[in-house]
Amino acid sequence: MTKKRSMQEPTFLLLTALADRPRHGYALGDEVAAISDGRVRLGAGSLYGTLDRLLAEGLIRIEREETVDGRPRRVFALTPAGTTALTEESERMRAALREADRRLAVSRPRLAGGAA
């Protein structure tokens, strides 16, 4: 019934973590924690659950599978659809931030005047 919906924060952070270059799952978990300043820490189940969903939705793809120290790793990358979704979400958030800044700029002098 709806055309456009806002993203959940973990989804946004995962897509952001993949925006500059492909990464494997473990690096993505670390990157999400770094981007969110340690606020969002995804457990393995939540991380791979979200990656599975993004794969199914075509927002990310498996770029390659490799073995490091005898352990398998899938390297994930953004698809064009994922890049578009991240760009749109980023623009939506930027517009909301601009509006918040504009309103704060209006209210600050008033509050300062009231306090004086």
Partner: protein, 309 residues
């Protein structure tokens, strides 16, 4: 002499990994195992336990096909906050009644065991209320923890102490909490921010209005308010939330699960079965009324996503 016995959390993780179906792929499972083992090794006991539970939850959902990109998982994710609201408002309403009874008549109302019955009833109902509050506040982990407490503690306390709730009311509470517990933790969007608030406030407003009208309309208004108001409001919420009729039907089926499954677990008479089936009819009625209204409103306003912001 040193032993290389794995920690409890490492053993739990091994069991959790066994929950993944073979079709998920050995490579993907090994990757998750590697990731989770690394987390558990560097984490405390509680954080390690949470990690193992996270993997167990994902494994179970993959095995049952309840992942958010599958229709059943998507329906479960849509139904979960609504089910939490149903359980929470139901429990809150009973807590309110209990407080009123105790305030007016004192603890002696429950002559057989006095304060103990009141205390146990409060302990039974409080987790469901807290679960709904956590959903409204957007604290998903807290909400799921409270759902787990509701699923485990409410039937147990009822079985041991037999306080004032009926069997089917306890089963409904536990089942609705279970829906939140098994729902995918990463729904696709933030659509559930406004809808649960609207549902909770509408049910409460309806309950209060029917309760106030009780003196004119008779006791049935107070007793039956929840059973009429809550399903209709929930049906409307499904119409506002679901992306398609098929999605709405699956969501309604999930929400209808608790009232439909209750008679299977309990030895209930035919008249009670009719009462339990009523919410299912009302879910559908609410949906049927709201669906065209939502569609028409969305077209007129040309802002189809205003309900989901």
């Amino acid at each position: 002499m040193t032993t290389n016995r794995p920690s409890t959390n490492a053993r739990l993780l091994r069991w959790a990994l066994a929950l993944y179906p073979a079709s998920y792929g050995a490579g993907a499972r090994a990757e998750i195992a590697d990731h989770a083992e690394h987390h558990i090794a560097g984490a405390g006991r509680l954080a390690g336990l949470r990690e193992a539970c996270d993997v167990a939850g994902h494994g179970t959902r993959v095995r049952l096909g309840l992942v958010p990109h599958r229709p059943a998982g998507r329906a479960l994710a849509t139904a979960a906050p609504l089910a939490a609201m149903l359980a929470g408002t139901f429990a809150a309403w009973h807590l309110w009644f209990l407080i009123q009874i105790v305030r007016v008549s004192g603890f002696d109302t429950y002559a057989f065991s006095g304060t103990r019955v009141v205390t146990v009833t409060v302990l039974m109902l409080a987790p469901a209320v807290l679960m709904a509050a956590a959903v409204l506040a957007g604290h998903r982990t807290a909400a799921r923890t409270m759902a787990l407490v509701t699923v485990l503690a409410t039937p147990l306390l009822h079985a041991v102490f037999r306080p004032i709730l009926c069997d089917y009311q306890v089963v409904l509470l536990a089942f609705n909490a279970f829906v939140l517990l098994v729902a995918p933790p990463d729904p696709i969007s933030n659509l559930s921010r406004v809808i649960p608030w609207t549902v909770a406030l509408s049910i409460t407003a309806g309950e209060v209005a029917l309760s106030l009208a009780g003196s004119h309309l008779g006791a049935w208004a107070t007793d039956m308010g929840f059973y009429f108001v809550a399903p209709v409001v929930t049906g409307i919420a499904v119409a506002c939330t679901a992306r398609s009729v098929g999605h709405a039907a699956l969501t309604t089926a999930v929400l209808a699960g608790p009232p439909l499954l209750s008679p299977l677990l309990l030895d209930m008479g035919l008249n009670h079965r009719a009462l339990i089936l009523l919410p299912v009819v009302l879910f559908t009625t609410g949906y049927t009324i709201a669906f065209p209204v939502v569609r028409i409103t969305a077209r007129i306003a040309k802002r189809p996503d205003h309900l989901h912001r």
